[in-house]
C-alpha cells in the first residue's frame, strides 16, 4: 500500500514539473495548468488511504473542502480581469496560512521535546508561512485600494523590523533548544504575522507583483518545510519546486522593471523624499489640454499612431473602447500599434491578457524592444492611463525612484496625447515631465469615456 502511495506521489511530482515546463511556453501554457491540476488530483487521491478519520475529523474536512471550493471557485470566476493580481495575492496568502497552521498542529502533537529534525522544519514553516500570509493580505489591500498604495514609512522603521526579526529568532531558538510549548510557538506565529505586515507596508503598489511573487516562493518553502514535519514526499517536492521557480521568477520580474530585488524591497526609504520634492516642484506648472474634436482630427489625419495602454485603461475597462478607436483609425488607413511595456497594468503580462480579451489582434501588440524605435516615426503616441512607463525621468533623473527602469520612448513621437483622469502622479508616486512637454496635450477624463469621445470625433473628422 505504502509503495503505491509513494508511486502516486512520484507521478504527481512529475506532472507538476511537466506542468511548470508547459506553463513557461505560450503554446502549452493552458495545458500546463491542467497537467499540474491532474498532479494535484493524484496527490490528493493517494493521500486518502493515509487518513484515519475521527467523526469530528470527517465533519471538518467536509466543511473545509466545501467552503474552500466555494470561495476559490467564486473568487476566481467572479473577479474582474483587472483585479487578478490581488486575487493571486489572496490565494497565495491563504496557502501560507494553511502551512503555518499545519506546523502548529504538528508541534502540539510532538510534545515538549521533539526531535530536532521535526521541530526545525515546523518552526520554519510557522515563520515563513505566517509572513507570507500577512504580507499577502497587505499586498491584497494595497492593490484592492483598501489602503493607500504609496509606501508607508516612519522613522526608525528598519530598526523596528530588525527588532521584530530578532525577537522571532529568539523565540525560534527557545522552541528549538529549550521547550516546544504553545506559548513559544504561538508567540512566534504572532510576531511573524506582524513582521509580514511591517515588511510589505513600505513597498509601493507598483512593486506589488514582485512582492507577491516573492511571497509565493516563500509559501512554497513553508509548504516544503511542512513536508519535512509530516514526512510527506509530495509536500516536500511540490513546495520546493515552487520555492525555487518562484525565486527565479521574482528575479526575472524585477529584472523586467530594471530594478534589483533589494531595491524593490528596501528602496522605499529614499523614494518618499524624492517623490515629495518632485510633486511640490511641479504643482504650479501648467499643461496644455485640448478638445476631443481637435484630437480626433489630429488622429484621423495621422499616418501612424501608437497606443500606450496602462493601468488606467484597465481600471476603466476601456480595452474595448481602445480597440474600437483603433478600428475606426485603421479604416481611414492609419497604421495602429499597441506598445506594451513589460510591466504595463499591474503585473507583467497583465495588459496582454486584457487586450486579448478585447480581441485586439496579436500582431498589433508590440513589446517594448520591438516598438521603441518606431516612436520617432509615429505621428501620435496616445497614452491611455499609463504614466510611469513613459516617464523620461527613468532615463534622465538619477535621483528618481524609477531611474534605470526601461521605458517606452513615447516622448520621441511627433505628438503626444496624454489621457489621464487627473494630474495625480502614477503608482510610483512621482510626477511625469512628459505631461509638461511642448509636444504633449492632456486629455482629462475616465479612459473609457475619453476614448469613446475620440471615436466619435475621428468619425466626424
Amino acid at each position: 500500500m505504502n509503495l503505491l502511495i509513494s508511486i502516486a506521489y512520484l507521478v504527481a511530482a512529475v506532472l507538476f514539473i511537466l506542468g511548470l515546463k508547459q506553463l513557461s511556453s505560450p503554446k502549452g501554457a493552458r495545458n500546463g495548468n491542467f497537467t499540474a491540476a491532474a498532479g494535484m488530483v493524484i496527490a490528493l487521491g493517494a493521500t486518502v488511504p493515509l487518513l484515519h478519520f475521527t467523526t469530528a475529523g470527517a465533519v471538518i474536512v467536509a466543511i473545509g473542502i466545501i467552503i474552500g471550493t466555494a470561495i476559490g471557485t467564486f473568487g476566481a470566476r467572479m473577479v474582474h480581469m483587472t483585479a487578478i493580481p490581488q486575487m493571486v495575492a489572496l490565494f497565495n496568502g491563504v496557502g501560507g496560512g494553511a502551512a503555518a497552521l499545519v506546523a502548529v498542529a504538528e508541534l502540539l502533537h510532538f510534545g515538549v521535546h521533539p526531535a530536532f529534525s521535526l521541530v526545525l522544519p515546523s518552526v520554519l514553516s510557522i515563520v515563513i508561512g505566517s509572513i507570507s500570509f500577512a504580507g499577502s493580505m497587505v499586498a491584497f489591500a494595497k492593490l484592492q485600494e483598501l489602503m493607500t498604495g504609496t509606501p508607508i514609512t516612519y522613522p526608525g522603521q528598519q530598526v523596528v523590523n530588525g527588532l521584530l526579526a530578532a525577537a522571532i529568532i529568539g523565540f525560534a531558538l527557545a522552541v528549538l533548544a529549550i521547550a516546544s510549548i504553545p506559548f513559544s510557538f504561538i508567540s512566534l506565529m504572532v510576531l511573524a504575522l506582524i513582521l509580514g505586515v511591517a515588511f510589505v507596508l513600505p513597498i509601493g503598489g507598483a512593486d506589488m507583483p514582485v512582492v507577491i511573487s516573492l511571497l509565493n516562493a516563500c509559501t512554497g518553502l513553508a509548504v516544503a518545510a511542512s513536508g519535512f514535519t509530516l514526512n510527506n514526499f509530495a509536500l516536500i517536492v511540490a513546495g520546493t519546486l515552487v520555492g525555487a521557480s518562484g525565486s527565479l521568477l521574482t528575479k526575472l520580474m524585477s529584472d523586467a522593471m530594471g530594478r534589483s530585488l533589494a531595491n524593490v524591497l528596501f528602496g522605499a526609504f529614499g523614494q518618499v523624499q524624492h517623490a515629495a520634492t518632485a510633486a511640490s516642484g511641479a504643482a504650479g506648472r501648467s499643461v496644455r489640454s485640448a478638445s476631443a474634436e481637435d484630437l480626433g482630427t489630429l488622429l484621423a489625419y495621422s499616418q501612424r499612431v501608437i497606443i500606450v495602454p496602462g493601468y488606467g485603461l484597465a481600471v476603466a475597462q476601456a480595452q474595448h473602447a481602445a480597440r474600437e478607436l483603433a478600428d475606426v483609425l485603421e479604416k481611414r488607413g492609419v497604421e495602429v500599434e499597441y506598445a506594451i511595456h513589460p510591466v504595463a497594468g499591474r503585473m507583467p503580462g497583465h495588459m496582454n491578457v486584457l487586450l486579448a480579451e478585447a480581441n485586439v489582434p496579436y500582431e498589433q501588440l508590440k513589446e517594448m524592444d520591438q516598438v521603441n524605435d518606431d516612436f520617432k516615426n509615429a505621428d501620435v503616441a496616445l497614452i491611455v492611463g499609463a504614466n510611469d512607463v513613459v516617464n523620461p525621468a527613468a532615463r534622465s533623473t538619477p535621483g528618481s525612484p524609477i531611474y534605470g527602469m526601461p521605458i517606452l520612448n513615447a516622448d520621441e513621437a511627433k505628438n503626444i496625447i496624454f489621457m489621464k483622469r487627473s494630474m495625480r502622479p502614477g503608482f510610483a508616486g512621482i510626477d511625469n515631465e512628459l505631461m509638461f512637454g511642448p509636444k504633449t496635450v492632456m486629455f482629462f477624463g475616465d479612459a473609457k469615456d475619453s476614448l469613446t469621445k475620440l471615436v466619435s470625433a475621428v468619425k466626424a473628422a
Binding site: 501554457a29 516544503a224 521557480s245
Partner: protein, 106 residues
Amino acid sequence: MNNELLNELTFFVLAIFVGFEVISKVPTILHTPLMSGTNAIHGIIVVGALLIAAGAKTPVEIVLGLVAVTLATTNVVGGFVVTDRMLEMFKGRQPAKPSTPAEAKK
C-alpha cells in the same frame, strides 16, 4: 541522521535545481500566469491540512484542522481556476493567427 531524512533532503535539493531549470526560459507575458500556476501548486499543502484535520479530536485540533483545510482548499481551487481564466484569454488569439496573411505564407 536516519535514512528517511537523508532521502527527504535529497529530494529537496534536487527539486531546487529542477525548479530553477524548468522555468528559466519563460517569456515576460507569461510571468503572471506562471506565478499564478506555481501558486496553485503550493496548494498541495491541502494534503498536509487533510492529514492533520482527519484525526482531529480536541477542540484545538478541530479548529486548526478546519481552518487549515478551508484555507488550503481555497488556495488550490482558486489557484487553478484563476490561472485557467488568465490562460483562456491567451487562447483567444491562437485561432486568429493562421488566418492572417503573414502566417498563411509560411
